[in-house]
């Protein structure tokens, strides 16, 4: 898994490439935990995310809780149909701001 960080104004965009599972979720946990507390808004771009398991969802849930606690905003975008289905089955689609693409995600957190 690879995580690329870019800025758009005040918004940090994290692009995740590869597989987010119990073997790789710690990498995202470290980055996300640190960043959601220090940034007003974070967008997770999943266009390169091939796969997600519950370990990945767990890290995202933790990030969402931290963002909420520090009044930060968090949005996800560009989920593949397979990844989106995992969010739907687990009920996570209702607790995240999920946007079609990066532009709408940026608009959602501004």
């Amino acid at each position: 898994m690879q995580i690329d960080e870019t800025m758009d104004g005040d918004v940090l965009i994290l692009s995740i490439q590869g597989r987010l599972d119990s073997n790789t979720s710690k990498q995202l946990d470290e980055v996300l935990t640190n960043q959601v507390q220090n940034r007003p808004a974070v967008v997770l771009d999943f266009s390169g995310l091939e796969y997600i398991s519950s370990a990945g969802l767990r890290v995202l849930l933790k990030g969402a809780k931290q963002a909420r606690a520090s009044n930060g905003k968090l949005a996800l975008c560009s989920l593949s149909p397979h990844v989106r289905e995992v969010f739907d089955i687990s009920g996570f689609s209702n607790i995240f701001s999920i946007q079609a693409d990066r532009q709408t995600a940026l608009a959602a957190v501004k």
Binding site: S22, N23, Y51, S53, S54, R58, L61, K62, S90
Partner: protein, 149 residues
Amino acid sequence: MSEAKSARLELRLRNDLTELDTLSEALEEFCEAKAVPTGAAYHLNLVLDELVTNIVSYGYEEDAGEREIVIQLEREANAVAVVVEDDGVAFNPLSAKEPDLDASVEERPIGGLGLHFLRTLMDDLCYRRKDGRNRLGFRKPLTDQPNAA
């Protein structure tokens, strides 16, 4: 491979999370060779990932050393039949509690989702504890629509 014509695959994984890569690569190859639709292949990978992660994380004592998780896959006419066996602590996934899927961010418990995927995405679940081994069987039905949920 010599097993190219066989409808079966047996995978032996070590109790280590890095084996998830071995699992996904072997599954992809099996599903491609056996014309398993991508949606079903993704579900199989997800459920097996969750089961292996559970076994590796909770199935053994800290100093258990290297152990083996055995996964058998068989392509049937309209399904993929799966058996997962391990020699970790007794654990029946069929008796685990369902998570609350409607809870808010604050209330959402962390955990329990892997087994929810198993019960949601797979059929014909059966569990047996015998001779110090857990044996979990299930089946992924294959529909006519390649990407059906």
